[in-house]
């Protein structure tokens, strides 16, 4: 009985701590550091390998009921504690419009940029369900994604200058700068163009988005992924998602050419390229 009470107490304290500290990374750090990851020759935690998110995040980052073709899920937002993305009122309306625009599977008519095979953005590219390979050198961590052979190269040395001005560079996937904090790879992403979504439910941001990703090995085959989104134009406060990624041992990444799949379906991707930044 005492043991059970103690367990309940520990859980309550943990929940309280998570609520108190908000951005749970701090609360999570001890768990991450319990596992001593292998190190590369450069002394960095060795995150190399093929990883995949086997979960429902691609459908909706928030808790949601079942819809046609979509399993119900509990969501991945760990902060705020209510699991909801802290939208400003006008942005919530925009999210609803986004979601309503996803009904038609025709890429010419669907509002989800991913249906047109546009770059998925960060963090969405992580949990779409396709695997990715992490490759490390002393200076650069490369994320090599199976989806449409995309890659992100994250410099992790002080030799690389700070990100350019958003006046000069705006990217779908942002501009990354990385560093190691203990056992965690931290990637700060800025310079987003604001066109990408977070999931199939229409969750979105503006070009003011900043994303801080944290990759921490919890064991040999489990990589914890965490991303904190900050966008004062769309959200009332920063919010954080967290999920485990599983190591894929059977083979390296293969390929999935998204636009070639449209070709094979007989869908021409010659639509006009008209991009509207989120209008709030």
């Amino acid at each position: 009985m005492r043991t059970r009470d103690l367990r309940v107490l520990i859980v309550l304290v943990a929940v309280g701590a998570a609520a108190l500290f908000g951005t749970a990374p701090a609360a999570q750090a001890p768990a991450g550091q319990a596992y001593a990851p292998p190190r590369t020759a450069a002394g960095h935690p060795d995150l190399q390998g093929v990883w995949r998110a086997w979960n429902l995040a691609k459908y909706d980052l928030e808790a949601h009921g079942a819809k046609p073709g979509v399993p119900a899920g509990l969501g991945f937002v760990v902060d705020p504690a209510d699991g909801r993305i802290p939208y400003q009122p006008a942005a919530l309306k925009r999210r609803a419009e986004n979601s309503a625009g996803t009904k038609d599977p025709d890429p010419w008519k669907n509002a989800d940029p991913l249906v047109k095979c546009y770059l998925p953005g960060v963090p969405r590219i992580t949990y779409m369900g396709w695997p990715f390979q992490i490759i490390q050198t002393a200076d650069v961590v490369t994320f090599n994604y199976e989806w449409s052979h995309k890659k992100r190269q994250v410099p992790v040395t002080a030799k690389v200058p700070p990100p350019p001005s958003p006046e000069d560079v705006l990217n779908w996937n942002g501009v990354p700068r990385g560093r190691f904090e203990g056992n965690t790879l931290v990637v700060d992403n800025t310079n987003f163009n604001g066109y990408a979504w977070f999931d199939m439910a229409g969750n979105f941001s503006s070009a003011a988005l900043k994303v801080t990703e944290r990759y921490t090995l919890l064991g040999p085959d489990t990589l914890q992924y965490e991303a904190t989104m900050t966008d004062p134009k769309v959200f009332t406060r920063p919010w954080t998602i967290r999920m485990p990624l599983q190591r894929q041992k059977d083979v390296g990444i293969l390929d999935y050419e998204c636009t070639a799949m449209l070709d094979e379906l007989g869908i021409h991707h010659t639509w006009p390229r008209e991009f509207e930044p989120p209008d709030l």
Binding site: T40, A41, A42, D46, Q48, C117, Y118, L119, Q133, I135, Q136, T137, A138, V140, T142, N144, H149, K150, K151, Q153, V154, P155, V160, P163, P164, S165, E167, D168, V169, L170, N171, W172, N173, V175, P176, N191, N193, Y195, V251, G252, I253, L254, D255, E257, T259, A260, D263, E264, G266, H268, H269, T270, P272, R273, F275, P277
Partner: protein, 311 residues
């Protein structure tokens, strides 16, 4: 449509693609600016590269190929035509990249030469996967600057080329099962003395080797050889064996020996292409003119297959 128009269209498409790939956020209301990490064009080629010296070596004694390399000779015409070709029509003249057979002509079987020429026809330029911002084929990649890195797990070597990262598995000795077909195949590597031998099978035969329509079948076996000559030079050859398409194996090389370039120092670019691919509609218009509006009867491309098919 005339050959002249064909080349103008093709070249326009190529130049647009190059522009799209090297200017971040092109076609998205981006404001230009920062040079991409891709391409390695211009900007003081050769500057910042120390004089050639002995072959650098890794701890295991093998050549250290780390660095940025460029075998294009500064021009891109071989992404259009691999064989000897005259100048004009918007492209520079070029010598054949084929070193074997000695006549520099790709030894196609007759049916395959007809199919190559069908693909080369401007009416079918819309079929080229690169115009759709899809994957660059292995030989085609060799016309651009690229980076080689020895991954710290010791078993991967990376190419960062025109959007494509090829991870060469240095530990696996067997190719993947036949049923897995990939755009750039399954690639495994091994050392033969100082030569890195890169062996590729399991291809899907959906792409082409150049805008000019050169191709091989899904049964092709590709062997690349990277041989370091000195600290600043790599000799690269690609030998293609495919009895379904060619009368004999043949070998090509890069326009010039791959030369060291200053290392990549800009990671702010992004490999956008499809997002701003406004040029595709022009290629489709030409295709529609030749095949009937919408090209419905012929799209996706109905490639002529080798007699007897492939695996």
């Amino acid at each position: 449509m005339s050959t002249r128009v064909r080349f103008l269209l093709s070249t326009a498409a190529l130049l647009c693609l190059v522009a799209l790939m090297t200017v971040p956020a092109a076609g998205q209301g981006g404001r230009g600016g920062g040079a991409g990490a891709e391409g390695g064009r211009g900007g003081g080629r050769g500057a910042g590269v120390p004089p050639a010296g002995p072959i650098p070596r890794r701890a295991d004694g093998k050549p250290d190929l780390t660095g940025r390399w460029d075998g294009s000779g500064g021009v891109l015409h071989n992404t259009v035509i691999l064989e000897d070709h005259p100048g004009g029509f918007g492209i520079q003249s070029g010598k054949s990249l084929i070193v074997d057979p000695a006549d520099g002509v790709i030894p196609y079987q007759p049916w395959a030469l007809a199919e190559r020429n069908r693909r080369r026809d401007d009416a079918n330029g819309y079929e080229d996967q690169v115009g759709h911002c899809e994957i660059y084929e292995i030989a085609r990649l060799a016309s651009f600057a690229f980076d080689i890195a020895h991954a710290s797990d010791g078993n991967g070597i990376i190419h960062h080329t025109q959007h494509i990262t090829r991870v060469i598995d240095m530990n696996r000795r067997q190719h993947l099962p036949d049923g897995i077909r990939l755009w750039n195949g399954d690639t495994i590597g091994r050392w033969e003395g100082d030569t890195l031998v890169v062996d590729t099978t399991n291809l899907n035969a959906k792409g082409r080797m150049a805008l000019g329509g050169d191709f091989y079948s899904a049964d092709a076996h590709l062997v690349e050889r990277f041989t370091m000559k000195d600290s600043n030079t790599i000799s690269w050859t690609l030998t293609i064996t495919d009895p379904k398409v060619f009368t004999r194996p043949w070998t090509m090389t890069s326009a010039v020996p791959m030369a060291r370039r200053p290392p990549a120092d800009n990671f702010d670019g992004e490999d956008t292409c499809h997002e701003g691919n406004v040029d595709l509609v022009h290629l489709k218009n030409v295709y529609d003119q030749a095949h009937g509006k919408g090209g419905a009867a012929t799209w996706p491309p109905q490639y002529v297959q080798p007699p007897g098919g492939t695996r």
